[in-house]
Amino acid sequence: MIAAHLPVLQVVIPLVAAPICVLLRRGRLAWGFTLVVSWVVLGAAILLLGRTLAEGTISYAIGNWAAPWGIEYRVDAVGAFVTFIVASIGALVVPFARASVRHEIPGDRISLFYTCYLLCLTGMLGIVVTGDAFNLFVFLEISSLSSYVLISLGKDRRALTAAFQYLVMGTIGATFILIGVGLLYMMTGTLNMADLAQRLPAVADTRTIRAALAFLTVGVSLKLALFPLHLWLPNAYTHAPSAVSAFLAATGTKVAIYVLLRFFFTVFGAAYSLGEMPLAEILMVLALTASLVASLVAVFQQDIKRMLAYSSVAQVGYIVLAISFASVTGLTAGIIHLFNHALMKGALFMAMGCIFLRLGSVHIRDMDGIGKVMPFTMAAFVIGGLSLIGVPLTAGFISKWYLVQATLEEGLWQIAVLILVGSLLTVAYIWRVVEVAYFRTPVRPAHEVKEAPVSMLVPTWILIAANIYFGVDVSLTFGVAQVAAESLLSFAG
């Protein structure tokens, strides 16, 4: 009975839980409640993924209003997979957040923190399950508004300016998406994505539709921090509370990439967006620049969270590069990396959260010899870093492998070389941290700095274990990603 409502439950559970969380007031109670809710959501997401893989696309009419008049929730393989990614990171960050949030956020604001967290989760899951272009905009704004608040809760006052900067750029991006959706509606008279896909080919050769595609591309690119529209990201991730950095770095840009996939492949069709329009070339150049320039900038960062943030910009570059090929292998590589990057960035930012809890800083000058006093945290960082580089037996290797394969399939060996150069830059910036952490004598004696609490180490290590597991057994990631890629390309209108 309840199984029929799985798509809408993804949104309803955290949305209803959010106001209850405000009423709980007490921090610990709010945390416990959020923990239960986030794991229930994860359970629902797993069921949804299982059902989607077994039965194909699930369509759900909100309030029984039939599409295209009512709002339709439509979950296919890509959607279910991204839902699973967001829900699992969402569920893992909550246990991690308990100690971290108590350390970084004043007691009377903790229940509000978890409220915003649940709203952010609602928005992200909503974006993924909805099949309606305008509904997508609304969920996008729910997740964005709550993430501005989450970022502004950071300890440093620069968190406020970072949140403001993100708010301005995020709102411009969202407004561009709104314009794009409006122009599409103007020409087709529908907002339902499947319906749009059917009606667009007839009017595709008009200036309005081309403008719509342009607005949507720029708007979504702002949200996913595609170079050179990434300026909000480093500040936001650096100054946000540790738990928020881990959550947003692992899910925020991923959901935006999902939106890009939806519009390019489902609504416009790959033949139009990446074939007739010169977007494939534009995206390819921007993505490659992102992966090289951002990696290079990361090498020179002193604040390790900022370094990881620039690395995120570079990794988003890899994903967009893979998408720009518009081939099954390319899309598969992109979707696999979407998942794997969530695992590694989540783990790396969590490790930074552990260090911030104990040192009150993630500046490289404070991390001398930290590997000796916080062995578990730093071991997690090293494995996460290896995965980021793409060392065999880690998830990152699988991503890079398929990415290079997709590049060679297109006959673009020069790009494959550039991808490897990007990996070398990753080695450079990860090695800097490893060198400082392991080959220098600790500034402060070991009895002053303790290992992070178990409640934070366990979620970190679960993600690290996942990094290794999905580096060895690719049946889940590759299997789902391939089904997803094929279904995305089958929309080609």
Binding site: F134, L167, I172, T175, Y185, M186
Partner: protein
């Protein structure tokens, strides 16, 4: 709405779109050029408002009235974009409120709401 040779009448006939573009650029310019954070928010809201007008004017049918069943009326404006933009207005108000709240906090933390002065303070550190 179609490409190709547009004459003067067409260009003037699309005046609602010209207003949209004008407002959008005014708002965008304020966001970029003004160092005062409150003015930036005003610019951002003008920018969003231009899109509201885009939606509202696109739904207007010449000679049409509100979609209420009245005898003798056969032409109605399209209500859907109007309803959509009601949602977008709410989102816009929420964004503005949140942005203003952030500016209050920034003012408390830095003693100023001027972007240049904030940047100068950060560089001193």
């Amino acid at each position: 709405m179609s490409g190709g040779g547009a004459n003067v009448v067409d260009v003037l006939g699309l005046y609602n779109y010209w207003i949209v573009i004008l407002l959008m650029m005014i708002g965008f310019y304020i966001v970029i050029a003004r160092p005062n954070l409150v003015k930036k928010i005003v610019g951002l809201f003008i920018f969003q408002t231009s899109v509201f007008i885009l939606y509202i004017s696109m739904a207007k049918v010449r000679g049409g009235t509100a979609p209420i069943l009245v005898e003798g009326v056969h032409t109605y404006s399209n209500p859907l974009p109007h309803v959509l933009i009601l949602t977008a207005i709410v989102v816009g108000v929420a964004t503005t409120a949140l942005a203003l709240a952030l500016v209050v906090r920034i003012e408390e933390a830095y003693g100023t709401a001027n972007e240049d002065e904030i940047r100068a303070q950060e560089e001193d550190l």
